[in-house]
């Protein structure tokens, strides 16, 4: 997944932060990597004097499909002896949903 550094003016709600955003003098983490920007967090960052941040570039449909295929392939290996055990089937579904949700 690509990352790019953008100015705060170009940041929009819904974008995902790629690396921790620290205060202008370093120190405290204002927003942790992985957080999704909202109108409230954008105003808060502006108040704290943040001018640039690194965001995750959204995946193209092809990239997304390839990622999902890779997730399924790994789960096939990990659950190769699970058979049709109902609990493990549910567990696999929960992990898959979590992984795909993070794309």
């Amino acid at each position: 997944m690509g990352h790019k550094i953008i100015s705060l003016a170009d940041a929009r709600p819904g974008m995902r932060i790629a690396s921790d955003v620290c205060g202008p003098t370093g120190g405290d983490v204002l927003l942790a990597a992985g957080a999704v920007l909202s109108g409230v967090t954008l105003s808060a960052l502006a108040r704290r004097g943040i001018s640039r941040l690194e965001v995750v570039e959204p995946l193209s449909p092809e990239e997304r499909a390839a990622r999902i295929a890779a997730i399924d392939q790994r789960l096939d290996v990990l659950f190769r002896h699970a058979g049709d055990d109902p609990l493990l089937r549910k567990l696999r579904g929960a992990v898959r949903e979590y992984r795909v949700g993070k794309l």
């Binding site: 120190g27 990990l78 002896h81 992990v95």
Partner: protein
């Protein structure tokens, strides 16, 4: 080789191991005591700088929110609480006690990643169930200690187990029973009994693959946590797979899928922090 002789051989070698550090022994004992003198234990922890470094690395992670401000064990106890620090001390102590050997089949880094990951899963699940998360974290982090003991006291057998498991696509448990005649859960139980670990942790170590009615909450939660950790691909070896999940343990715990769903991001966050314990 039959079961008894392997177990006896392992236990005889355990007697030769240098004793666990005083700090680890006292911290473990403190789980079963109410009148704990945290200051005194902190003094003993402070004597082992290598252990202190690992504990402070985690204490200063973004997860706890004190970024870089925790400078000493005493400060860590004040800011995070003795309860939160002691599980880190036990893990850091054992990581120091059993350093990796060169050219072996056993991967120390993956071993600790799986055990720390299981500890984190156990802590998140236990907390969501309204139980003692730190005790669950400690039990999870120590659940496979039997593997580490075999690796240290009979490295050639540890290598043979790894090779046998990989070439037959067996679980570790199956490979151990085939090669050693005994598995890491049984060895871990015997060893931690000698080390005077809290009784509930001993049972969690013994029964984490197949907890029964009498095994107790910790065994159930560590069992589910270990399966979850494999499913999340934390600390897996190439050969690892998701192991069976006991429906009885699941039911006794009163878990439901929403808890797992909402627990997963939390597990990932906490695991990133706890893993800072590893590395030089």
């Amino acid at each position: 080789m039959n079961n008894a002789s392997t177990m006896e051989q392992v236990l005889a070698c355990v007697e030769q191991l240098p004793p666990l550090s005083t700090a680890v022994v006292e911290v473990l004992a403190s789980f079963e005591r109410k009148d704990v003198d945290a200051d005194e234990i902190a003094g003993k922890i402070s004597l082992d700088q290598g252990m202190v470094t690992r504990v402070l690395r985690v204490a200063n992670s973004a997860f706890y929110g004190f970024n870089g401000k925790v400078g000493t064990i005493h400060e860590a106890i004040v800011l995070l609480g003795f309860h939160n620090i002691r599980s880190l001390v036990v893990a850091a102590g054992l990581i120091r006690q059993f350093p990796p050997r060169e050219h072996g089949q056993f991967d120390h880094n993956l071993f600790w990643r799986h055990n720390i990951g299981t500890g984190v899963c156990a802590r998140v699940l236990a907390s969501r169930l309204g139980k003692d998360g730190e005790l669950a974290f400690t039990a999870g982090m120590l659940h496979d200690v039997g593997q580490l003991v075999v690796e240290v006291v009979c490295p050639e057998k540890s290598d043979a187990v790894a090779v046998h498991g990989a070439s037959h696509d067996m679980t570790l448990l199956e490979a151990e029973r085939a090669i050693l005649g005994v598995d890491h859960a049984a060895i871990g139980f015997e060893v931690t009994k000698r080390w005077n670990f809290p009784a509930a942790i001993q049972l969690a170590i013994r029964d984490h693959h197949q907890p029964g009615q009498e095994s107790g909450f910790l065994a159930d939660v560590v069992h589910v946590a270990s399966v979850l950790c494999h499913a999340l691909d934390i600390g897996n070896t190439v050969n690892d797979r998701v192991t069976p999940l006991s429906p009885d343990a699941w039911q006794r715990l009163g878990l439901h899928w929403e808890m797992i769903k909402y627990g997963l991001p939390e597990i990932e966050r906490q695991n990133a922090a706890a893993s800072l314990m590893l590395g030089d």
